[in-house]
């Protein structure tokens, strides 16, 4: 689904940097150095990024307005 707003273990707010992380990794940058640059230091927060799968786009076609179905 969407990236969680906070890290599940330590509670740090992480969602605001997810888009930057995604763009950097998609453009071929190293995930480790990107996370360091974004200030994501602890491994609990890092696993939130590397283990996340964006599924919202997959399910959104199933929730469109009724008259367009």
């Amino acid at each position: 689904m969407l990236i969680p707003v906070k890290c599940w273990s330590c509670g740090k707010v992480i969602a605001h940097v997810y888009e930057q992380y995604k763009q950097a990794v998609e453009s071929g940058e190293d995930a480790q150095s990107t996370l360091e640059d974004l200030g994501i230091k602890r491994y609990c927060c890092r696993r939130m990024f590397v283990g996340h799968v964006d599924l919202l786009d997959e399910i959104s076609p199933f929730s469109i307005a009724r008259d367009q179905l």
């Binding site: 509670g11 888009e19 399910i59 929730s63």
Partner: protein, 294 residues
């Protein structure tokens, strides 16, 4: 009397050296920071439901995420907390006397609104789309990119979110700190000069010059670096066979380093001051109760 000295500080992180203290006291402070420091967080969300027609298109209050999930995400967004402007609802000067359902006034609540429409490829609704009803309560620009939900064409969302003051012991959304930990302050002791050469030969950060004439290292920053360097000659390394205890770390009695981050709702200094205030009030009450009995 416990002394507190700020070692390192920025907008979201702080390290504090507490001296003349004990492990139990520092832990009490840590737990107070997590669960008793007052903070504003979104507690109630009113979603507007229905269908509207605008510019020849029909928009329905629908989306891929259920309302409960959206409300949970809203609760996690750091709301700027001004302790001197807002009160707890149960001690609000203007509405504390009312029944719980009727409480809520400009002295104890912050209301945010949002009305957003989807688009063809999907549009992410973020924390920046929420506007504060009033002045000075807008969500920090740094956190504007927090995604709330994503809407496709024909989907819209409209809600009124109410933030109130609370404590972390009731829900994690009211906990202003994260990554909070403390450790005893340590000093480095150079025991054997000849064997220490194994570490210097690795060309890491710390050198023999960093120790004073008595073979001690007291600077907090350098000791932190020394701890990192010692991993290269510690247990499980080839060097550890010869290095043994050439350099050791010693705890300083009564001195602890407390470090934590905040979620952005307040500065770490404010969180620390509030936690100290909460803790002293509680001990003050205990003292009064005890005096009344004895």
């Amino acid at each position: 009397m416990v002394k507190a000295e700020v070692i390192e500080e920025n907008d979201e992180e702080i390290s504090i050296l507490l001296s003349d203290s004990g492990r139990a006291f520092v832990n009490a402070l840590r737990r107070t920071l997590m669960s008793d420091t007052p903070k504003m967080a979104i507690d109630t969300v009113r979603f507007e439901m229905g269908t509207i027609e605008q510019d020849g298109e029909i928009w329905e209050t629908n989306g891929p995420l259920p309302d409960e999930v959206v409300a949970q995400r809203l609760a996690m967004i750091p709301i700027p907390t001004k302790h001197d402007e807002f009160h707890f609802q149960d001690s609000c000067p203007s509405c504390a006397e009312l029944v719980v359902e009727d409480r809520g006034c400009p002295l104890c609540t912050m209301i945010y609104t949002c009305k957003a429409f989807g688009s063809e490829g999907g549009r992410t609704v973020t924390a920046g789309d929420m506007s504060f009803l009033g002045a000075g309560g807008s969500i920090s620009e740094k956190y504007h990119s927090i995604p709330i939900t994503k809407l496709s064409r024909g989907q819209m969302i409209e809600f009124y979110a109410t933030a109130i003051m609370g404590r972390g012991r009731d829900h994690a959304k009211w906990s202003p700190v994260c990554g909070i930990a403390f450790s005893p302050r340590q000093v480095g002791i150079l025991n054997v000069k000849t064997r220490s050469k194994i570490l210097w030969d690795l060309n890491l950060t710390i050198t023999a010059k960093d120790f004073d004439s008595n073979g001690r290292m007291e600077d907090i920053g350098k000791v932190a670096q020394l701890i990192e360097d010692l991993h290269h000659v510690g247990d499980g390394t080839e060097e550890s066979r010869k290095f043994k205890d050439a350099i050791t770390l010693e705890d300083v009695p009564g001195e602890f380093i407390l470090s934590f981050e905040t979620d952005g709702s307040m500065t770490p200094r404010v969180a620390f001051q509030k936690a100290v205030q909460e803790l002293s009030e509680r001990f003050g009450e205990l003292k009064e109760d005890f005096a009344a009995i004895v």
